[in-house]
Symmetry: D2
Subunit: 156 residues, 4 copies
């Protein structure tokens, strides 16, 4: 089971704490963690998962060996800029979004486009042109709920 965790490369303490805990719980659940391999939420989830002995794969937008966060088991350097986001999503059985940014929203949207389940922990929300919520994303209250939902969705 491979679960991608997506979030901004600059984030606050709350999101970093959530991401670390999400990583830890995914590793304990035996899931392989996929992330962008950079800063912010990406670094926090890698740290949490690796602290629990989990397998963590970073999928980078560039080929810069010096821009990679700690805690990764292996790194795929796509050298493809934001097209990397599509690869992360295509590789995931479920996606957990932690916090919001434009890059993160593109990953949420690509996941819904492919039918990959998305669990959101403090992520951005989407309205149609009439102001009605666009469904398809499950909101979680905390990391434990996010991981439980993602693992359940990924298994089905």
């Amino acid at each position: 089971m491979q679960i991608a965790v997506c979030g901004p490369r600059e984030c606050g303490d709350v999101e970093a704490g959530w991401a670390w805990e999400v990583g830890r719980l995914l590793a304990e659940a035996g899931a392989t963690v996929l992330c962008g391999g950079g800063g912010g939420v990406m670094a926090a989830v890698a740290a949490g998962a690796s602290a629990a002995g989990g397998l963590v794969i970073g999928v980078r937008p560039d080929s810069d060996r010096g821009a990679v966060c700690a805690g990764l088991s292996a790194v795929v350097f796509t050298d493809m800029g934001e097209a990397r986001n599509a690869i992360l999503i295509a590789s995931a059985d479920a996606v957990i979004v932690v916090g919001g940014s434009w890059g993160t929203l593109s990953e949420l949207a690509l996941a819904r486009r492919r039918g990959v389940p998305v669990i959101s922990l403090g992520g951005w929300r989407v309205l149609d042109a009439d102001g009605n919520p666009v469904g398809g994303t499950t909101l979680a209250a905390d990391p434990a709920e996010a991981v439980a939902l993602a693992v359940r969705e990924a298994a089905t």
Copy 2:
């Protein structure tokens, strides 16, 4: 000047009419039109632009010669699925979004991630986790306003 027009591959008559008119007006303004080269909004904008003698480039997610809409001057077959969206955006000086879908939202998000101006004509809207609108997209009332805004933004 290259302007991408993005929108769902299945759309209603209102959006198709808007897209056709956006294509016509972009061609008359001398802009090269980039689109996904498929159905719905993509086909309508290609039809409108080609009817006005404009240059229209389709950027496809597959390599299927039979899935291409009419009206394209040339077609780039990326064979890369939704990563195609990142290429469309990286190639555009401005983006006009017509209508909403998950794929379209990924393009809007990638454009804002890169700092490419986005003009929205009936597109989806974005709220942060607290329910506040996330800025960065300009709403247009009709095709004429959308094209005028996009041309102005692309030129700066």
Copy 3:
């Protein structure tokens, strides 16, 4: 009909002359020319084709607006490094190789992998591990023969 012309970004006068003539003849034959949109062979084929009023699409590895050669009708900025080569090939009905380089050889190889016809004008050659030539590429003696062969192959 879309024909890609591939060759090194730094080339000598002979290859530049061949590429210019290939571009001119492709435009006169009514083919759309695809190229990498950079220097050397790419710039020469774009110049030749545009001088003859042809449609020329540049497919770039980066998103640098200042690195683009003259003579292009439109430019697709993939921002994907050498993965751009796969897009050029997937978009072509036939490929003309002018001269040799590692990047050019990757395009020749990707074309043969996909079954896209390749015409070589001064390109590198390939031997198997036993030293026997690996077929699949047609050698041309001059630009006129290269274009005639490519147009014929692309039409079948």
Copy 4:
């Protein structure tokens, strides 16, 4: 240290044996193995490396969960066709080529284009237009030599 092993998806017993042994020796040397995650040489190297307890990452051209070989620690589904080859190469500190095919040659060429060291075990060879060998690839006599050379090159 990440080392990519490239080779045809259909191969004979000799190449499969070489690839298995290359995988085993890379794992014993502590290198992470990258491969295409499919049949032939890809499956053999994954089997050899995983038998020795190594970390093996498959980088796939599609998103087909059923087309993946055994022995992979994690799989990145690029859904990008042959553009996957560029990602494999961009992620590698050195490349070992086992046997020859057009796809494999594209990887060899992309590696040389980027300056990534290439060790060849029964791979295709390249001549310029005058019939002279084009350098840049080191020939190995057996798996032990290939791995020793690749590990040395990757470390420098």
